[in-house]
């Protein structure tokens, strides 16, 4: 009987080259960046007829204006971006129940019981068409930071967790915190200051 011929081994060296080619294809054709940013909800557009003015008390409004030179006007005073976060926090929380800060209304919140919150506070952000996007984002970031810090403080003192640890949006603990510090940033309807477009 003839001895079985040994099959020559397949050369595996080019396998690396093939894999390299596929790798390079993926390096070029794909991107790593997962998109990150500030999430916001735009107000639904109001019909012209039923554009009613909401009755908002002066003390409940925190006005932030950004002009075309990226200068800030916070509560009718020339403001600095460094101080915006602290000011916004004080406004949202109104810790000493001050007269000129938003009114506190007692509501029933799960986990917390009866809490006095600034339920109707509004942070009104207005910008010019000439404001730079970067400046706008810096202001948005500071305002978000104010809310996040307050929420984190509360979450840590009550649940010993960070607010962001409540991953699920329907988490009742997260909802409770949202109820105490509701995100109320309102962006004004754009106005054409320099005449119609």
């Amino acid at each position: 009987m003839r001895t079985k011929k040994k099959l020559p081994e397949i050369n595996a060296a080019p396998q690396a080259d093939v894999a390299f080619q596929i790798l390079i294809f993926f390096l070029i054709a794909t991107t790593m960046d997962t998109d990150k940013g500030l999430l916001r909800k735009l107000p639904p557009i109001a019909e012209k007829q039923e554009q009613k003015k909401e009755d908002v008390k002066e003390r409940n409004v925190f006005l932030v204006l950004v002009n075309r030179n990226n200068q800030l006007l916070v509560e009718n005073q020339i403001g600095n971006i460094n101080e915006l976060r602290a000011k916004a926090k004080e406004f949202i929380e109104n810790p000493y129940n001050a007269e000129d800060l938003p009114e506190k209304i007692k509501i029933e919140v799960p986990y917390f019981g009866e809490v006095a919150v600034t339920k109707y506070h509004v942070i009104s952000l207005q910008n010019d068409r000439g404001t730079s996007y970067g400046a706008y984002m810096a202001v948005q970031n500071e305002l978000t930071a104010a809310y996040n810090e307050l929420r984190n403080q509360l979450a840590e003192s009550k649940f010993n967790m960070k607010y962001d640890d409540f991953k699920d949006e329907d988490d009742p603990r997260r909802k409770a915190i949202d109820e105490i510090y509701p995100l109320r940033i309102s962006e004004a309807e754009p106005r054409n200051v320099g005449g119609a477009k």
Binding site: I22, A29, D35, L39, R40, S132, Y133, E142
Partner: protein, 160 residues
């Protein structure tokens, strides 16, 4: 006497490259899993503004991208900020139609979860962004993400 040295000169055995493909495949797998296909090629310059409070967008399939920036090819498209949708510049008026079309591609229960991510350059003026926002409101695409890069507090103030 016993000689410990062999007569013939020793040759260093070559390094086996048999495991090289495995390593490359491993890299390949990593990239296949962790990256996503490029959707569009950028036609505008975008340097994202910095922010500290950013959150990751959860579901990529629910996100529609809108790019606003100064065209890379200023000779051809001018140096004013423009809106790029998919692979072409579009006038702002077309945004509404675009968003509505994108929404139709989603299944019924996902439509209200659609997010529009605005990727804009930090040095452009708010005018065009305001127009984009108005157009999105008209299209009732109300969930908006202002795309930003993670930066330090200093970098955020540097946006100004």
């Amino acid at each position: 006497m016993i000689s410990f040295r062999s007569k013939e000169p020793k040759t260093v055995p070559g390094v086996s490259t048999a495991s090289l493909p495995d390593i490359i495949f491993m890299l390949l797998m990593f990239f296949m899993v962790s990256t996503t296909m490029k959707q569009t090629s950028m036609m505008v310059h975008i340097r994202a503004p910095f922010a500290t409070e950013i959150k990751k967008l959860e579901k990529k399939s629910l996100v529609t991208f809108v790019y606003v920036g100064i065209p890379q090819n200023t000779k051809m498209y001018g140096s004013l900020p423009r809106l790029q949708l998919n692979d072409a510049f579009q006038p702002i008026e077309n945004l509404r139609e675009f968003v509505e079309k994108e929404r139709m591609d989603l299944s019924d229960d996902q439509r209200n979860k659609m997010t529009v991510s605005i990727k804009a350059d930090k040095d452009i003026e708010m005018g065009i962004i305001t127009d984009v926002k108005q157009e999105l409101r008209k299209a009732s695409a109300l969930k908006v993400n202002y795309s930003a890069a993670l930066g330090t507090q200093q970098a955020v103030f540097g946006n100004l």
